[in-house]
């Protein structure tokens, strides 16, 4: 049955996460202005807050499904702050790749580690088939020898290891690209620096250099050293990892946009601008009307996120929908935070308030995990029935 109401239990969980997120927000400015510091693994206030997963105790079958709730939680957390967490979670994007592509033995061997994922290079972003990093098998020692550079690696400084994409045969194009697991401390693997960014400054984003980096032969994820002839199923398998991360990324961006909307509404109302839902355009100030447009945009985008997660929870395919919500969310959060600053004027641009930070933080949403343009390519191919060679 179509339903858009949260149960009492859902609300209890969300309220608890929001309360926690507000505490995190108190640290937001500090770690934004001091980007060389990392937020702690656990805040001093953690003793007053139960672990998030424990909140789910007592869930019933009538409560909202876990995938949908996880999107709401992601948004609630980033509503507090993008980077600061009451307790820093284990695991990174590389763990999702390990689960998707690793053999059972590999999952057992490395599953407990926090793994980053390194795909992007200085010369390749949206088109990962252009990966330049090489992996050459040294048959004498049974080792892979890696050479190349990786940038924009999320959780890259603090991860225990990384899943890295490298080509074993440049002539083979996409088919030659394999993922390898490299643990920190491998010879020839260096964390070059923490990236300096527009926003999400507290976040751990690293640049890596691999110079004759040697790893065991068994560190090839999935273990298959063959180069598939046709378009690679393996490649597609890795791309599938994105089906839940894309909605999550959109949800995180939208949590920040929600914070911006809440702040803007409070400030406008304090200044005497009434924001009501009853009147139409002719019955409101232009400021109120613009605010409602931004709120509608938030709502529309968030619903596409929940739909993508709901499909997955219902055991249905959500390839198309995860791109839809990522494209929608990415564009929405840009317009919302830009619009909120416009509504508040000079105050919105002041570092006395967090709005300007949210405006910076949220901008990455439409770029990472596939830019808005890449999402539109995926959507367009789907609705037009075109393959990747027919629509580039």
């Amino acid at each position: 049955m179509i339903d858009f109401t949260f149960t009492e239990h859902d609300k209890k969980v969300l309220d608890a996460v929001r309360a926690e997120a507000l505490v995190c927000r108190g640290y937001a400015r500090h770690y934004d202005e001091n980007e060389h510091e990392f937020p702690p693994d656990e805040l001093p206030e953690a003793k007053d807050f139960p672990p998030t997963m424990s909140l789910f105790a007592g869930r019933g079958k009538d409560d909202t499904s876990l995938g949908v709730m996880s999107m709401m939680l992601a948004a609630a957390q980033s509503w507090g702050d993008y980077s600061v967490r009451m307790r820093r979670g284990k695991g990174g994007l590389g763990n999702a790749a390990l689960r998707a592509a690793g053999t059972p033995e590999q999952q057992k061997q490395w599953g407990h580690l926090t793994l980053a994922m390194a795909i992007t290079e200085p010369g390749c972003g949206s088109d990962p088939s252009r990966v330049q990093m090489t992996a050459v098998l040294d048959a004498a020692t049974n080792e892979w020898v890696l050479n190349g550079e990786k940038i924009f690696v999320t959780t890259g400084c603090r991860a225990d290891g990384v899943v890295v994409w490298a080509t074993i045969d440049k002539a083979a194009g996409r088919a030659g690209i394999k993922s390898f697991l490299v643990e920190k401390g491998a010879p020839g693997f260096v964390v070059a620096h923490k990236e300096k960014k527009l926003g999400i400054r507290a976040d751990d984003t690293a640049a890596y250099v691999f110079k004759d980096c040697r790893i065991p032969r068994g560190n090839l994820l999935g273990g298959n050293e063959e180069i598939p002839k046709e378009s690679s199923g393996g490649f597609r398998g890795v791309m599938k990892t994105f089906n839940m991360t894309r909605p999550a990324v959109a949800a995180i961006g939208l949590g920040i946009a929600q914070a911006a909307l809440d702040f803007t509404r409070e400030q406008l109302q304090a200044a005497g601008v009434a924001i009501e839902y009853g009147p139409g355009a002719a019955g409101q100030s232009a400021l109120a009307q613009r605010f409602l447009e931004l709120e509608a945009l938030y709502e529309a985008a968030m619903l596409t996120v929940l739909r993508a997660a709901w499909l997955s929870d219902a055991g249905k395919s959500n390839n198309l929908e995860s791109s839809i919500c990522k494209a929608k969310g990415g564009a929405a959060v840009r317009e919302i935070t830009q619009g909120c600053i416009e509504l508040l004027g000079p105050m919105g641009a002041s570092r006395e308030h967090l709005l300007e930070k949210w405006f910076r933080d949220v901008r990455i949403t439409d770029i990472y995990e596939g830019t808005g343009q890449i999402q539109r390519l995926i959507i367009a191919r789907d609705i037009l029935g075109y393959g990747r060679d027919e629509l580039k």
Binding site: M1, I2, D62, A282, E293, L303, L311, Y386
Partner: protein, 366 residues
């Protein structure tokens, strides 16, 4: 619990309406637009779908199914996919009957609801929009003033669906000079009511509309919807905004589903124009927005169905759908280029429909 899953019954209704839109609406849409009229036999044919009577309690002659704004939103999307003007004409009696079901006094229900339970189409309507610039549904100019036991109605309404033939109008007006809005049942032959129909409109031409002028129309106390208890005019507005949004989703989908095969077929510079990112991305945006619009409609409809305050959700849906549907129709014309401007293709009709629908409050109700 958050769920995007229609019930089996709703899926059945959805596909039946999709079929009806394809077989009974699309084929007559262009002619109805050109002639600015709704074919009588179409109204009779659509009446057999039971869209109104099914939701009227058995006690008053209906089928007594639970009233479902969600089902109505699903139905309206499908019918409007066929043609919005014809969809609104077919569903217009609900504009009158459903508020009576929800808010009517026992006497009003007994008198009025059986009218909608017969075999023949029965026309009645809602009068909300008003002539002149900057119409604002929460600041109506039409007034109802107490006189003795009854009321005196003065003002004017426009874009009233089926004004040329409705037996009754449900007229929204400000009561006693205050801000509170109430609804009044006005029979067609009320003294002081003059009807100017049909109006000539930009779009939705298949839907006959008219202007009503009330010159000191005297109404008995029993004309007030709900009697002393009155009605929740805000909820009526929410039901109207949600329906308007649902119809906008349907037309937007029509544009998208027409533009996609056109762009795959039309060649320029040695390939289908759909293979150009400029066109492909425009189509992708249509796909994104049709989804986003629909979930906003469902959210509002679900709150209305659960009896929750839906003013926020209905308003956000209306704002968003009006804006995005206009963009989709606009882009649809552009994808077809010169052909988008020619009346041989339906896209120009949808372009006019959407511009009209987006500003006309009170032409549909879930």
């Amino acid at each position: 619990m958050i769920s995007f899953g229609p019930t089996e019954e709703q899926e059945v209704a959805q596909s039946a309406m999709r079929e009806f839109a394809a077989s009974a609406i699309r084929p007559i849409a262009r002619r109805s637009d050109e002639e600015s009229r709704v074919p009588e036999d179409f109204l009779e044919q659509s009446w057999q779908l039971g869209l109104v009577a099914t939701q009227i309690p058995e006690a008053y002659g209906g089928a007594g199914e639970a009233r479902s704004p969600i089902t109505n939103a699903l139905v309206l999307e499908e019918l409007a996919f066929g043609d919005a003007g014809l969809a609104l004409a077919a569903t217009a009696p609900a504009l009158f009957a459903m508020p009576v079901v929800e808010f009517g006094s026992e006497a009003q229900k007994c008198e009025l609801l059986p009218l909608f339970c017969g075999d023949r189409f029965h026309a009645a309507s809602l009068a909300l929009a008003e002539p002149g610039p900057a119409f604002e549904p929460t600041a109506l100019r039409t007034k109802a003033e107490r006189k003795g036991d009854g009321f005196v109605l003065s003002g004017a309404k426009c874009f009233v669906p089926l004004a040329d033939r409705a037996s009754h109008f449900l007229v929204l007006a400000r009561e006693n000079g205050g801000d509170a809005v109430q609804a009044y049942v006005v029979p067609r032959d009320a003294a002081g009511l003059s009807i100017d129909a049909p109006e000539k409109n930009l779009g939705l031409r298949a839907l006959p509309t008219g202007t009503l002028s009330f010159e000191r129309v005297e109404l008995p106390a029993a004309a007030r919807l709900g009697g002393d208890a009155g009605c929740d005019a805000r909820r009526i507005l929410d039901l109207v905004r949600t329906a308007q949004s649902a119809a906008l989703v349907g037309v937007s989908r029509a544009v998208m589903e027409y533009a996609i095969p056109y762009a795959k077929d039309r060649e320029a510079f040695d390939e289908a124009i759909a293979k150009k990112q400029a066109i492909a991305f425009t189509l992708a945006d249509m796909r994104i927005e049709v989804d986003a619009m629909r979930w906003l409609v469902w959210q509002a409809a679900s709150r209305l169905e659960n009896g929750l305050d839906a003013t926020r959700e209905a308003q956000l849906a209306r704002l968003y759908c009006a804006r995005q549907a206009m963009k989709i129709a606009d882009d649809g014309v552009q994808v077809l280029g010169g052909h988008g401007f020619i009346r041989e293709h339906p896209v120009e009709l949808w372009y006019r429909s959407v511009r009209t629908l987006g500003v006309v409050d009170g032409a549909a109700l879930v």
